[in-house]
């Protein structure tokens, strides 16, 4: 009677989960078809994807790479029996014009110079971007590179970039000498004054003299020959490199206790952030020459770069200010209690942390700035978008639309996507959190 027949005495062997819960089927039930709503969504999106690919893929796969005009493309496609409104892409235009889309009207025998400039840009950036894998000695090259870059692109006498570099060297030595005699602030003032005197008064004569004695130089290229993706990258790189330090200074100014400095910084930042970039580019193209002393006429690309830099630095300042605000007050107090002065505290304690917090914002500002370089086509510079109109004006390629836009979009996508991935890598690398 006490016999309980259903109590098991030995453990059952483990069994595999049912087929519908594992493998591909299990994954699909979990991720695609859990519930009627999800299943409907899946089927809808699948139909959408299939329709999209069905429309685009046949257009993309079109053997028109060697065509020399739109008419020839249509011939080839008609020969294959493909008729209709959009029988296929005409890739001949890309083969014919990709060099122009990249370099604009830069003299073709001098293409090695921009190529060299951008290869060396990679070398100069490597120690900054991948500091753990590249020897630090290369930083010397990074310091010299800003003088090499414009010389390679615009050409001219080698003495011009050298004398610009000499200004920094002179300023540094004067600073060291004055610093030892009269102390900190006086040293900085003396150094800056010496450099300014060199750049504004002396360097012109020295360059002329050296040119007369030793005329070393490469062929000069006019700014109006610049164009294509090279122009976008040039404007983007220079503006990015200059906007970060200016932005940091503006952010510090905005956070500072000095009322007048703060008011000036807030006014500048809010003004720039309140107007569209295109109006600043109008200022660059029409007004900047009016603001300068009579007779000055400086380069349109330089004017655009100045405006793009000012624009990006206001946004950068807000991003960095966000990082500064996110730091706990204890970090400032801790730095003070160690006896660090303002600049030491900023350099050693505050900035490394604040900049780390603001990396995503900084990089997205960079990406935004790089995308915004396309706006220069509106004031008549020949960036890829401006060139696409010029290419369509050619009777061979009159009527080409999608191929050019697609190619340009691809160029921008690759660069911007790479930048955003790099920022994720950097965030992971610098992450010292404990989560």
């Amino acid at each position: 009677m006490s016999e309980v027949s259903y109590v098991r005495t030995e453990i059952l062997p483990e069994r595999d989960p049912p087929v519908i819960a594992t493998g591909l089927i299990g994954w699909m039930r979990e991720n695609l078809f859990s519930g009627w709503f999800n299943s409907a969504l899946t089927i809808l999106s699948l139909t959408f994807v299939v329709m999209l690919l069905d429309g685009i893929l046949p257009w993309i796969f079109s053997p028109t790479w060697h065509a020399t005009s739109l008419g020839e493309c249509r011939e080839i496609l008609r020969g294959m029996g493909r008729e209709g409104h959009y029988p296929g892409a005409c890739w001949g235009v890309i083969r014919d014009r990709w060099v122009q889309l990249l370099f604009g009207f830069y003299p073709s025998e001098l293409y090695w110079r921009p190529i060299m400039a951008f290869l060396l840009l990679g070398v100069a950036l490597a120690p900054v971007l991948f500091s753990d894998r590249v020897p630090r000695k290369l930083l010397w090259f990074s310091a010299v590179y800003p003088f090499l870059f414009p010389w390679l692109l615009w050409g001219g006498s080698i003495w011009v970039p050298l004398s610009a570099l000499a200004g920094f060297v002179i300023g540094w030595f004067v600073f060291r000498a004055a610093d030892a005699r009269a102390g900190g602030l006086a040293g900085i003032v003396a150094g800056v004054l010496a450099a300014l005197v060199w750049w504004l008064l002396l360097s012109g004569y020295v360059v002329q003299g050296l040119d007369a004695i030793l005329p070393i130089g490469i062929e000069a290229v006019q700014s109006r020959n610049f164009g294509g993706f090279m122009l976008s990258v040039t404007i983007g790189v220079v503006a990015i490199a200059c906007s970060l330090p200016i932005g940091i200074v503006l952010a510090l100014g905005r956070q500072s206790d000095l009322l007048i400095v703060k008011a000036l910084c807030v006014g500048f930042i809010e003004f720039i952030r309140g107007v569209p970039l295109i109006t600043l580019l109008f200022v660059a193209s029409t007004l900047l020459n009016i603001f300068m002393p009579p007779g000055t006429n400086f380069d349109i690309i330089l004017r655009v770069i100045i405006m793009a830099t000012l624009f990006a630095s206001a946004y950068m300042a807000e991003v960095v200010r966000g990082g500064l605000a996110a730091l706990p007050q204890g970090q400032y107090e801790g730095a003070d209690s160690l006896g660090l002065d303002y600049w030491q505290a900023q350099r050693l304690v505050i900035m490394p942390q604040a900049l780390k917090i603001s990396i995503p914002g900084i990089v997205s500002t960079f990406i935004g700035l790089f995308k915004d370089t396309t706006l220069v086509s509106i004031i008549g510079l020949l960036d890829p978008l401006g060139l696409s109109n010029a290419i369509r004006a050619d009777s061979d390629w009159n009527g080409i639309v999608w191929e050019l836009y697609g190619f340009i979009a691809l160029l921008f996508f690759v660069v911007c996507f790479a930048m955003s991935r790099y920022s994720m890598y950097l965030e992971r690398k610098l992450n010292t959190g404990h989560r």
């Binding site: 999106s45 970039l277 109008f282």
Partner: protein, 462 residues
Amino acid sequence: MATVSEPPKEAFRLSQLIYDTRYRSMTIQIVALVAFLILIGWLISNTAQNLADLGKEPSFRFLGESAGYDINQRLIDYNNQDSHMRAAVVGILNTLLVAILGCATATILGVIIGVARLSKNWLVGRLMTIYVEIFRNVPVLLWIVFIMAILIETLPPPNAFRGDDPDATMKLFDTVAITNRGVYIPDPVFGADAKDEKGEFLEEPVGWRVGLGDFPIGASRDNPACESYYATEGPGAGEPAASCGTFQVSLDLLLVLAVLVSGFYASHRIKRRADRIQEATGLRPVTWYLRLGVVVLPFAITLWALGFYFAYPELRGFNFQGGTHMRNSLIALWLALSLYTAAFIAEIVRAGILAISHGQTEAAAALGLRPKRIMNLVILPQALRVIIPPLISMWLNLTKNSSLAIAVGYMDITGTLMGITLNQTGRELETVLLGMLIYLTISLIISAVMNWYNRSVKLVER
């Protein structure tokens, strides 16, 4: 016995201005101010000299001169005899139009995409990621010209709608015509009994539903265009012609808006009353039909009494007539800005939802709330606080990006004041500065309003 030791009194030395922290900040500020003033003075003197050399006195008198160019997409009446000032106002209204349309669409799309990116459905999540990455990493100017090209190249021309067996047909029960010259949508009109089906005034109204008509601000009896407005009989009596007055307000529209607003207010009062009853008794009276009724019924009656009807677009000759014509430039700009900004808003929404810790959901579930109420009462109010500040800056960005209208020929403030007016009058300084000032004002107003709203929903902490 004084225990307080006074610091030794010393004579003020000039070097203290730099080395004494008590004076240094003052020194730095004064130097900064002086440098800034010198810079401004230098710029102004350069500008004055350059303008004098060019023989241009800075003046805004050109704003009163006749503009002499047409604007095809506009919200208020304008013809090429009107002043540059009026052209600029048309431009400002166009900027605001595309900004408001764009912000609304971008926000709706962005929220949907942001939520869909978090979906448990693998395929939907991936598709939305692809969308966001593609739209974020390609310049908005490229999207604008690209969508413009799609509209022009792929849509049917108006003559494809002609014939017994046309290549293209009107959409949505023959009310909307989508052509490569733009989209024609029905035009809401008042005064059904006073007009024939072409929208022309009849000799005699066939009924009493004639509408209230327009009120011209700044009309005068001296203006021949206002003749019909001051007339007491004849077709269209009391209706001002297009060029009468500086600006015409539709009285019908004002009345409808007033009825709608008071309806919403009444509905709000009913809700408050229901809340009070629920507080007192624990039972909530059923009010949805009352609340719906006080909004819809007066609204519908007013519309009917004013003789509201839609004027449908119709193919006449080579083009569509009637209805509202939305040009391709407006549609391309609107679509491109919305799609581009939606990608950014989607990321903001996603980040906002992810920022709410899972414990909140679990705690709400532990209180016995159902999933829908958890979302409405617990997650969304907290997520919104994270979402709103960056959302505001996205709206500001969209408004500023609308200045790219110039690339597709949409006449916003950049196209009118800083475009054609600048080229015709040669007044770079005045037009560009005025344009920047207008954008600055718009931006500051948007951010002031939104910051005020943001403060009102902000969590009050200790």
